[in-house]
């Protein structure tokens, strides 16, 4: 596709359940990022992939959060035992190459609501 695609656009889940959020980056982009945006806040970094490997996962809040990118393209963010505090918009971005000054292209996000 022309841009970064995220599915689903909305996800409502019950507390304690497991969820997967998918990101399909722009074709050929080697760098992929996940961010989380809580209501009224700026996006906060979660994890960065260069190719298939997680090069920086320092933003993951705890071990309930995990992300993969097995073939260096599509990525899945996985959240176990969801809590109400996990409710937020999860944003995915990709860039052609990593590096300062490189433009990151964002998807429209997945709005996760934990009830």
């Amino acid at each position: 596709g022309a841009g970064v695609s995220q599915t689903p656009s909305n996800k409502v889940t019950e507390k304690g359940k497991y969820v997967e959020l998918r990101c399909d980056p722009i074709s050929g982009h080697t760098a992929l990022y996940w961010y989380r945006q809580s209501l009224g806040q700026g996006p906060e970094f979660l994890i960065y992939f260069q190719g298939t490997g997680a090069a920086d996962d320092s933003g993951l809040p705890n071990d309930r959060f995990f992300a993969v990118r097995p073939e260096g393209s599509v990525s899945t963010l996985k959240i176990q035992r969801t809590e109400r505090g996990d409710s937020a918009v999860y944003l995915c971005a990709s860039s052609l190459l990593p590096g300062q000054g490189t433009e990151a292209f964002f998807g429209q996000g997945t709005r996760l609501t934990v009830v």
Binding site: Y48, A104, F106
Partner: protein, 114 residues
């Protein structure tokens, strides 16, 4: 560590009047700085970026920003606001290292009144 502070959470202007959205940054080295815009139910879109070239940066839709090292500022301006400019604006700095990781400010909501 790098950080950005957006000095106004909400700015309201009349259509046709100038826009000023203020941003101060903190960085231990010469940073890359960005402004992103987020319209309701749309993805973040890059308005402009500064990467140590010209200090006055021109972006899309008539926006520009000036990098002032002495003031550690990167304010966003536009000479004449349009109704379609109403959105959330984020000042962003690149984190240290060469990962492309971004650090966002809290955002400024721009309201444009007719």
């Amino acid at each position: 560590a790098q950080s950005v502070t957006q000095l106004d959470s909400h700015v309201s202007v009349s259509e046709g009047t100038p826009v000023l959205l203020r941003c101060n940054y903190s960085s231990s080295y010469s940073p890359s700085l960005f402004w992103y815009v987020q319209h309701p139910n749309k993805g973040l879109q890059l308005l402009l970026k500064y990467t140590s070239a010209a200090t006055l940066v021109k972006g899309i839709n008539g926006f520009e920003a000036e990098f002032k090292k002495s003031e550690t500022s990167f304010h966003l301006t536009k000479p004449s606001a349009h109704m379609s400019d109403a959105a959330e604006y984020f000042c962003v700095v690149s984190a240290a290292g060469n990962t492309g990781k971004l650090i966002f400010g809290q955002g400024t909501t721009l309201q444009v009144k007719p």
